[in-house]
Symmetry: C2
DNA sequence: GAAACCAAATCGTCATACTTTTGAGCGTGT
DNA sequence: ACACGCTCAAAAGTATGACGATTTGGTTTC
């Protein structure tokens, strides 16, 4: 998943710094400066910058340098950009944005999944729902999180829509970030758990409307809780 | 918006070819081959490949070459990837995916817009709705399309959610592609026009629920129409 | 037949030189 | 004082040659 090699190292330094605003919008970097700062060659700097340019985080212009672009031009759907923002100082804003996105997408995905999921996927959802129930009772937060991520990713994948499916990792990052954020909450609420079971059952039964409604309750609840935490 | 220079030229050749499947999944390119084929230097090839790698279209490995990745790993939210796919042979699939995405996102964005839009944006929506009505009557398809794009982009922007806002361009591409696709339809249906006005009014009035419902009707209708066209 | 080994292919990195664009300063003329 | 254009230098863009690192696949050896 990660970008490899020395350019990858540069990216891992510059990306988060820009995403967090440490290198502010409008700041100008020169490639020679970067070469020295990281002790790498022109080639490496250029390739790293090219990648950042692809994400629209920076723009490189002759005679002026590499300028950090305003947030509004960033490719906010790029998985790396999302991760960097989640890791840095505007994690709250990023979580809020993603929260709204989930409220929009996941119910629709659940409805589609009810229609298009394979038998394997339906089975997997059922079993994940059971796992969730059990690990919640055991207050095993870590494996609970893992299964929660798998559950939502499976629903998204089962929607048979590539774009929804690709949000699986992102949602995973959100769930992880959220868990870290309110530092291991008071055991997962049984209400949310029941809703997950409901989603699984509705998808198994091919009941799109029910699946959508239950999923909407889940993600809307998560968003509300998030907004309280960040208030 | 475009990527500049010689790497940009390479991208403009390779990207669409890969997106269209002309260079199939698993195909292997060697950088030397690309240098010769395009008459450019290693530097240029490497930078172009790096960008494609950033989009997860290809992966470069030592001793093996540059291999085209399976579709499932592509960054399907990358604006360039979307454009390339829309331009090529899997435009239908891409339009379907984007259609579902619109059904999920735009109603939610309309609801948010009803709450968060600035006065300017509300004014702009009203005036765009009027323009739509008029150009539809005049059967001026080109300016109709332009205003339609502006309308949806404004709603997305007014949602005050960066991720929604960034889908503005994508939705624009969809609308353009759709118009080209069923080659200038029998003048825009007055029903859809009325719904646009309804969305604008609801957002002006701050009626989130109404805005959401009307917008959902619009995009769901568009998706249904699309599925008929592609059936 | 399996394990160790070797060699070729290919990308990865570096150093350097040359080219192209463009911003800024300077000067000239109105 | 202002505008216009000229020149120069700074920075990215491109090209090239050399070397390093790594993976693959075949070959040898036990």
């Amino acid at each position: 998943m990660e970008i490899q090699g020395l350019p990858g190292r540069l990216l891992a330094e510059l990306g988060p710094a820009i995403a967090a605003g440490e290198i502010p919008e409008g700041a100008v970097l020169r490639s020679e400066e970067l070469e020295e700062r990281f002790g790498v060659s022109r080639t490496v700097v250029r390739e790293a910058v090219r990648i950042l340019e692809g994400m629209r985080l920076v723009a490189s212009r002759r005679r002026v340098g590499i300028t950090v672009q305003p947030r509004s031009t960033w490719d906010v759907f790029d998985p790396l950009v999302i991760r960097w923002r989640l890791a840095g100082s505007d994690r709250p804003a990023q979580l809020r944005s993603l929260g709204s996105l989930r409220v929009a997408v996941e119910p629709a995905a659940a409805a589609l999944a009810a229609r298009h999921a394979t038998d394997d996927e339906r089975r997997e959802l059922s079993s994940l729902a059971v796992e969730l129930t059990m690990t919640a009772r055991a207050a095993d937060l870590e494996t609970f999180l893992r299964h929660d991520i798998a559950f939502h990713a499976t629903v998204l994948r089962a929607s048979r829509n590539e774009m929804f499916a690709h949000l699986g990792d992102t949602v995973g990052a959100v769930l992880t970030g959220r868990t870290e954020y309110h530092l291991m909450p008071h055991q997962p609420e049984s209400y949310a758990i029941r809703l997950h079971r409901e989603v699984a059952e509705a998808i198994c039964a091919g009941d799109a409307e029910h699946a959508e409604r239950a999923m909407r309750t889940i993600v809307a609840g998560a968003l509300e809780e998030l907004n309280q935490q960040l208030a």
